[in-house]
C-alpha cells in the first residue's frame, strides 16, 4: 500500500503540468475531468492509506532516492507518513476535493478556466509534498510552492491592478517568514549535516539540551510559521488575499497554505519543547493574534474580510494550543476549522454569486427567505465558528482551552483566548444577522445550483459531525498528563460563546443607535484597518525604502552600464550618417577604399 504514497502528490502535480502547458487547447469538460479527477484520485488513495494506517498504525517511510550530495550534506528524496501526515492528508485532499468540485461550477465560463485548475492542482500538490516530506528540503520545496501558488491565485484576475498588488503583498510578506525558515535549515545543515526531519529532531534532543541553538532554531521556525500562517506580526497579507476568486480563499484558508505553519510547529515539536521560552512566545503570539483579529473581524464591512480575520483568529487558537503544549488539540482544531471555514467561504461565494458580485455587508440583508440554503450553510458554519455545543468547533475549541488551562493555568494568554471565544461568537452572530436579517437591500438570484449544493451539503455534515473523525495522533505527540480543571473554569469556557451571542442579540435588538455611533468611532476605524499594522509597516519599512531608492536613483554602479548604452547610441548616430542613400557617395566610398588598399599594398 505504501508504494502508492508517492502518487498522492504526483497526481495533482502531473495534472497541473498538463493543464498549464496545453490546458488552453483542451475543452472545459476535459479540463474539469483532469483537474477534479486528479484530486479525486489523491483523495481516494489517501483514504485507502489512512484506513490502512488506522488498522496497522505504524509510521512508514518510502524509498529514499538520492537527490543532492555535496560537501558532506546528503539529501534524499523520500516521503514520510505518520498520524500527523494522515490528518493533514485527509484535510487537504478531502476539503480540497470539495473545493475543486465547487470551483468547477463557480468558475465555469471564466476565460482562465484551465489556468485556474492548473494553479489549483499545483497548490494542492505542493501542499501534499509539504506534509508528506521526509526531509526539510523537500518540505521547503512544498513550502515555497504553496507560496508561489497563493501569489498566482490571489492575482488570478490580473487585469485588476489591485489584485496584482494584493498578490505581491502576500508573496513579499510571507517571504520574510520564508527567509527565517531558510536560515533555520542552514543552521541544521551546519550543526548536523543532514536535513532528514526525524534525524534532526533526534540529534537536537541529544545535542541541544541546554544549549542556545534550540532557542534560535525554534525562533526561526516560528518566524517561518507566522509568515505562512498569517500570525502577528506578519498577518497583514491575509485580508488582502481576498482579492482572489472565492474558492481560492476557501482553499488558502481551509485546506492549504495557512495551516502549513501549524503543521511545521507540530512536526518540529521536538525542537520547540527544548526551548520553553519560545513555546511561551508561540502561545502569546497565538493569543494576541486571535484576540486582535477577532476584534478586527467584528467591524469589517466586507463579507470576505470578516472571514479572513476570523481565519487569522482561529489559526491564532491553534498557535496558542501549540504554545501551551496541547499539540493534538491544535491539530484537532486545524481539522474542524478546515471543515467549517471551507463551508463558510463556499457559502459566501454562493451569496456573492447570487448578489452579482456584491461583497459589502452594508448592502446585504434580509436574505433568509430568498437564499434559504445559503442561510442554512451559514447557520451551521457560524455555529461551528462560534463553538456552539454539538458542532465540531465546540469540541476542538473546548479541548484547546481545557488542555491549555490544565497545562499552564490561567496565564495572560489563556485569558485572552477565553475572551476571544466571546468575541468570536459575537462576530459570527453579527455576520449571520447582517446577511440574513434586517431590511432587504438587493434582490438576489436564487441559490441551490445543484453543482454547488453537493459540496456545500457535504461540508455542512462535516462541520456538524467532523469532530467524530478519529485522529491517529497518539504516536506523534506525547500524551498529556490528566489534570484536574476546576468546574468554574470549565463553566466559563462553556458560557463564553453564549455571552457573545446574548450581547449580540441585545445589541441587534435594542442598540441601533449605539451600533451607529460605534461603527464611526475612531477605535472601530482602527480595528477595521487591522489595528493599523498596514500603516505602521508602510511608514516603518515601505516609505524609507522608497526614499532610499529615490535618493540613490543616480546610482554610481549604473554609470558603466549607462556609458555603454551612450556609446552604442552615439556610434549608431555616427554610422547611420553614411547610409544616406546617395549612390554617388557609395561609389566614392568604394573608390576611396580601393585607393587606400592599393596604397597600403604597394607601399
Amino acid at each position: 500500500m505504501t508504494a502508492w504514497l508517492g502518487w498522492i502528490p504526483a497526481l495533482p502535480l502531473f495534472s497541473s503540468l498538463v493543464l498549464l502547458l496545453v490546458g488552453g487547447r483542451l475543452g472545459q469538460r476535459l479540463v474539469t475531468l483532469l483537474g477534479v479527477g486528479s484530486v479525486l484520485g489523491s483523495a481516494l488513495l489517501s483514504g485507502l492509506l489512512i484506513a490502512d494506517f488506522l488498522a496497522e498504525g505504524a509510521a512508514v517511510t518510502t524509498r529514499q532516492l538520492p537527490w543532492l550530495s555535496s560537501m558532506g550534506l546528503e539529501v534524499a528524496f523520500g516521503l514520510y507518513f505518520d498520524g500527523l501526515s494522515a490528518v493533514m492528508l485527509g484535510v487537504i485532499t478531502g476539503v480540497g476535493l470539495l473545493i475543486h468540485l465547487y470551483s468547477a461550477a463557480y468558475m465555469a465560463g471564466d476565460e482562465g478556466y484551465a489556468r485556474f485548475f492548473g494553479y489549483l492542482n499545483l497548490f494542492v500538490g505542493a501542499m501534499l509534498l509539504l506534509v508528506l516530506a521526509d526531509d526539510f528540503l523537500l518540505l521547503y520545496l512544498g513550502w515555497e510552492g504553496v507560496g508561489l501558488c497563493s501569489f498566482l491565485l490571489i492575482g488570478f484576475w490580473y487585469r485588476e491592478p489591485a489584485n496584482g498588488y494584493a498578490a505581491r503583498k502576500a508573496f513579499v510578506v510571507t517571504r520574510v517568514g520564508d527567509i527565517a525558515l531558510a536560515v533555520a535549515l542552514l543552521i541544521m545543515i551546519q550543526q548536523f549535516g543532514t536535513l532528514h526531519i526525524q534525524t534532526v529532531i533526534e540529534r537536537a534532543q541529544l545535542q541541544w539540551l541546554g544549549s542556545d541553538w534550540s532557542f534560535w532554531v525554534a525562533l526561526l521556525l516560528l518566524g517561518g510559521a507566522v509568515g505562512k500562517s498569517a500570525q502577528l506580526p506578519l498577518q497583514t497579507w491575509l485580508p488582502d488575499a481576498m482579492a482572489g476568486p472565492t474558492p481560492v480563499s476557501a482553499l488558502i484558508h481551509a485546506a492549504t497554505m495557512v495551516t502549513a505553519g501549524v503543521y511545521l510547529i507540530a512536526r518540529t515539536q521536538g525542537i520547540f519543547l527544548l526551548a520553553p521560552r519560545i513555546m511561551e512566545l508561540v502561545a502569546l503570539v497565538g493569543a494576541l493574534t486571535l484576540f486582535l483579529a477577532a476584534c478586527s473581524a467584528l467591524v469589517q464591512h466586507d463579507l470576505k474580510r470578516v472571514l479572513a480575520y476570523s481565519t487569522i483568529s482561529q489559526i491564532g487558537y491553534m498557535f496558542f494550543a501549540l504554545g501551551a503544549g496541547a499539540f493534538s488539540a491544535a491539530i484537532f482544531h486545524l481539522m474542524t476549522h478546515a471543515f467549517f471555514k471551507a463551508l463558510l467561504f463556499l457559502a459566501a461565494g454562493q451569496v456573492i454569486l447570487s448578489l452579482h458580485h456584491e461583497q459589502d455587508l452594508r448592502r446585504m440583508g434580509g436574505l433568509l427567505r430568498r437564499l434559504p440554503f445559503s442561510a442554512l450553510c451559514f447557520a451551521i458554519g457560524c455555529a461551528a465558528l462560534a463553538a456552539l455545543p454539538l458542532t465540531s468547533g465546540f469540541y476542538s475549541k473546548d479541548a484547546i482551552l481545557l488542555q491549555a488551562y490544565g497545562l499552564h493555568g490561567g496565564s495572560l494568554a489563556w485569558w485572552l483566548a477565553l475572551a476571544g471565544a466571546a468575541v468570536t461568537a459575537l462576530y459570527s452572530l453579527r455576520l449571520f444577522l447582517k446577511l440574513f436579517f434586517g431590511e432587504a437591500v438587493t434582490e438576489p438570484s436564487p441559490d441551490m445550483r445543484p453543482t454547488l449544493v453537493v459540496p456545500l451539503a457535504l461540508l455542512c455534515l462535516l462541520a456538524l459531525f467532523g469532530a467524530l473523525i478519529p485522529q491517529p495522533l497518539g504516536a506523534v505527540f506525547a500524551p498529556l498528563a490528566a489534570t484536574e480543571v476546576p468546574a468554574a473554569v470549565h463553566g466559563a469556557i462553556l458560557i463564553m460563546p453564549w455571552l457573545g451571542l446574548v450581547t449580540g442579540v441585545l445589541l441587534w435588538r435594542y442598540g441601533r443607535g449605539f451600533r451607529q455611533r460605534w461603527s464611526d468611532s475612531a477605535l472601530a476605524r482602527s480595528w477595521r484597518a487591522g489595528w493599523g499594522f498596514d500603516a505602521l509597516y508602510d511608514g516603518l519599512l515601505v516609505q524609507p525604502l522608497l526614499l532610499l531608492a529615490r535618493l540613490n536613483r543616480k546610482d554610481l554602479a549604473d554609470r558603466p552600464v549607462q556609458f555603454v548604452a551612450w556609446l552604442s547610441a552615439r556610434g549608431h548616430a555616427w554610422l547611420s550618417v553614411t547610409q544616406n542613400g546617395r549612390l554617388r557617395r557609395y561609389a566614392a566610398g568604394i573608390a576611396l577604399g580601393a585607393v587606400l588598399v592599393l596604397t597600403v599594398v604597394t607601399l
Partner: protein, 106 residues
C-alpha cells in the same frame, strides 16, 4: 620588353589607361544624370580592357584579346540591363537624376 616590336613604350599605354579610368571615375562621381554615369562606366570598362590588350601585346599571346572580347560582351549585357533601368526610372520619375533615388537612406 621591346623585343615584340611594340611601337610605343608600355608606360605610355598604362598611363593612357589610367587616365581613361580616372576620367570615367570622375564622370561616375560627378555626373547626376544616370545616362552620363553609364557612359562614364563604359569608359572605365574600356580602360580596364585596354590594359588587357596591352598586356597581351607585350607578352605576345592572344589571351589579352580574348579577355577584351569577354569584357565587350559583359559591357553589352550590362548596357542592355542598365538602359532598361533607365527607361523605367524615367517613366516613374520623369527625370534621370540619380540623387532623387535616396529612399533607402539610413
Amino acid at each position: 620588353m621591346e623585343s615584340q616590336g611594340l611601337l610605343i613604350p608600355i608606360e605610355h599605354g598604362l598611363l593612357f589607361a589610367a587616365a581613361l579610368f580616372c576620367i570615367g571615375l570622375a564622370g561616375v562621381l560627378t555626373r547626376r544624370n544616370l545616362l552620363f554615369m553609364l557612359m562614364s562606366l563604359e569608359l572605365m570598362l574600356n580602360a580596364a580592357a585596354f590594359v588587357f590588350v596591352l598586356a597581351g601585346a607585350v607578352h605576345g599571346n592572344a589571351d589579352g584579346q580574348v579577355m577584351f572580347i569577354l569584357i565587350l560582351t559583359l559591357a553589352a549585357a550590362e548596357v542592355a540591363l542598365a538602359l532598361a533601368l533607365v527607361v523605367q526610372l524615367y517613366r516613374r520619375r520623369r527625370s534621370l537624376d540619380i540623387d532623387s533615388l535616396d529612399g533607402m537612406r539610413g
